[in-house]
Amino acid sequence: MTTPHGEYEGAPRRTAVSRVVGFLGSSIVQVLLVCIGLFWLMPTLGLFVTSLRSPQDNAASGWWTTLQEPAQLTLENYASLLDNPSFVASFFNTILITVPSTLIIVAIASLAAYAFAWLEFPGRDWLFLLVVGLLVVPLQVALIPIAQIYGGAGIYGSILGVVLFHVGFGLPFAIFLLRNFFAAIPRDLLEAARMDGGKEHTIFRRVILPLGGPAIASLTIFQFLWVWNDLLVALVFADAQAQPMTVALQSEMRQFGANLDVISAGAFLSMVVPLVVFFAFQRYFVQGVMAGSVK
């Protein structure tokens, strides 16, 4: 690479020698990057190839032998997985848990973040600091007491309970992220809307929501991934009827060896949705997160 900034790893003066050094340095970096990429890819690649081989082949030899005989590849694991009613049910449970958790937290946290950023009330900054301080509380602290509350309220084991837990526990981070972004919206825009006689809810809808878009998008990604990928909360709060895919996979894994075909195919199906969601919104993601951390 010989872009103006390309000599970052090379020498400051551009003599012939330094250019050679720069070129070599740059190639070394490229090779290094390729090695890191391959290392990163290998565990996943192994599982992916495994998911495309029949159980008999997997029992007989390692996945890497496929490189010599690609004819082994088959989709039968995926077909049998989709025929498995309990696995399909767990896929829908995952959706029933993830989508509401994400929508509810976006609604509640953006209202609260607006109040913290732009409304004045006694003890506002103090209260906001307290909410941010709650980021430190590990999930584990709340598992047992919430389980008891759920038991009393009769929602222990249900999807509703899992959803509520994810919303509640995601709130400090959600408010923190959105409030910092909302606070950076130019004051004049809000003042102008207020001068025009806009009510607070109009300002919220017309000014805050559109301009806060990147932060809301990145919160959506965070929460979606977090809930879709969660195991612990579902393990504690969801019963057999409500169990999401992660729990279904984990219970298969406990009998590892016998059912590698189910696990590897299931693992890949469970990855597809978060991958699509993330890369669809990736642009907003970094933008929103950084607004949260720059302040």
Binding site: M1, H5, E9, Q30, L32, L33, G37, W40, T44, G46, L47, T50, W63, I108, L111, A112, Y114, A115, E120, F121, V136, P138, Q140, V141, A142, L143, I144, I146, Q148, I149, L164, F165, G168, L171, I175, A183, L189, A192, M195, E200, L225, N229, L231, L232, M245, T246, L249, M253, L260, I263, S264, A267, S270, M271, P274, F279, Q282, M290, S293, V294
Partner: protein, 318 residues
């Protein structure tokens, strides 16, 4: 909206210091408290239900012999500091605390931060194709569910796994790496899974460093490393501190990855505090003792956070 052009842009600090009512004092229809209670209400209610209540209950329960089942479940008694005395005398608790800190420092602070920053630096100004490819691969690992990540690494490291196949060419004897080096295995897996987040935030931070500052230092004869340590890193200190904080709070509660890979074993050699808490409270039903462990975890997270907040604080004074 045209009014926006009249005023000069304010820095965030000026904006914060100006009282909110300065511009809109004549606003009609202020209905006092209802204005802020309505938008804030649902959030406050949930925060009280999911944080205030449970934290108070946890503190209380840690002084009792509360249990999931049996006689103690029906009649919970106050037992004073007994849970904490037991905690301090329990060698498994001591080892779990040390392992939690090892896991946190190894995978969160050192692994993800150093590797994430290195990747972000290496990828700067690379060809878009290289950046895209490495980005997708590394970020892909971050997006994958923890259960799957744990299993991927389990399959990679176990006796029949890919790593042994690769090392076999070099004549290394086949072994179950999860048994030989359980902590190293889970730390590596967590670095693999988590580095993408640091990489993304550092990449964004680095892109805001003005290139003329780097050029100027370079003209003055600074080497690449000097520019990095004396110009670039100080400029992105806030990004580093915030990223470290978020990574730490995330890493300290990692449960799934370790649970899937080793279940805390062999023996207790990879049992960190979240796993010990799960085992004691939810598998053995000893709620009082389990909540005491949860409080210890909160303490670890709190202490580390203080360090980063101080890092941010000292910078603000500069």
């Amino acid at each position: 909206m045209s009014a926006t052009t009249a005023t000069p842009p304010l820095t965030p600090d000026q904006r914060r210091r100006r009282p909110v009512r300065a511009g809109g004092g004549t606003r009609p229809g202020q209905r006092g408290a209802a204005r802020w209670i309505i938008p804030l209400g649902p959030a406050l209610f949930l925060l009280l239900a999911f944080f205030a209540g449970p934290i108070l209950w946890t503190v209380w329960a840690s002084f009792t012999n509360a249990a999931l089942t049996g006689a103690q479940a029906a009649q919970t008694e106050f037992i004073g500091l007994a849970n904490f005395e037991r905690l301090l005398a329990d060698p498994r608790f001591a080892s779990a605390t040390i392992l939690t800190i090892v896991f946190l420092l190894g995978s969160g602070v050192v692994g993800q931060t150093v590797l994430g920053l290195t990747l972000a630096l290496l990828l700067q100004n690379r060809h878009a194709l290289v950046r895209g490819a490495v980005g997708v691969i590394v970020v892909g690992a971050w997006v994958v569910p923890e259960v799957v990540a744990g299993f991927v690494w389990y399959a990679f490291l176990e006796r029949e796994g890919s790593l042994n196949a690769v090392l076999g060419f070099g004549g290394v004897e086949s072994q179950n790496w999860l048994f030989t080096a359980p902590m190293l295995a889970v730390i590596l897996a967590n670095v693999w899974k988590g580095t993408a987040f640091s990489m993304m935030t550092y990449a964004a931070g680095l892109s805001e460093v003005p290139s003329d500052l780097k050029e100027a230092a370079r003209v003055d004869g600074a080497s690449g490393f000097q520019v990095l340590f004396h110009v670039v890193l100080p400029l992105i200190r806030r990004t580093i501190a915030t990223t470290l904080l978020l990574v730490t709070l995330q890493t300290v509660q990692v449960f799934t990855l370790i649970y899937v890979m080793t279940s805390g074993g062999p023996g207790s050699r990879s049992t960190t505090l979240p796993l010990l808490m799960y085992e004691q409270a939810l598998q053995l039903g000893d709620l009082g003792y389990g909540t005491a462990i949860a409080l210890a975890l909160l303490l670890v997270a709190g202490l580390f956070s203080l360090v980063y907040v101080r890092m941010l604080g000292t910078e603000a004074k500069r």
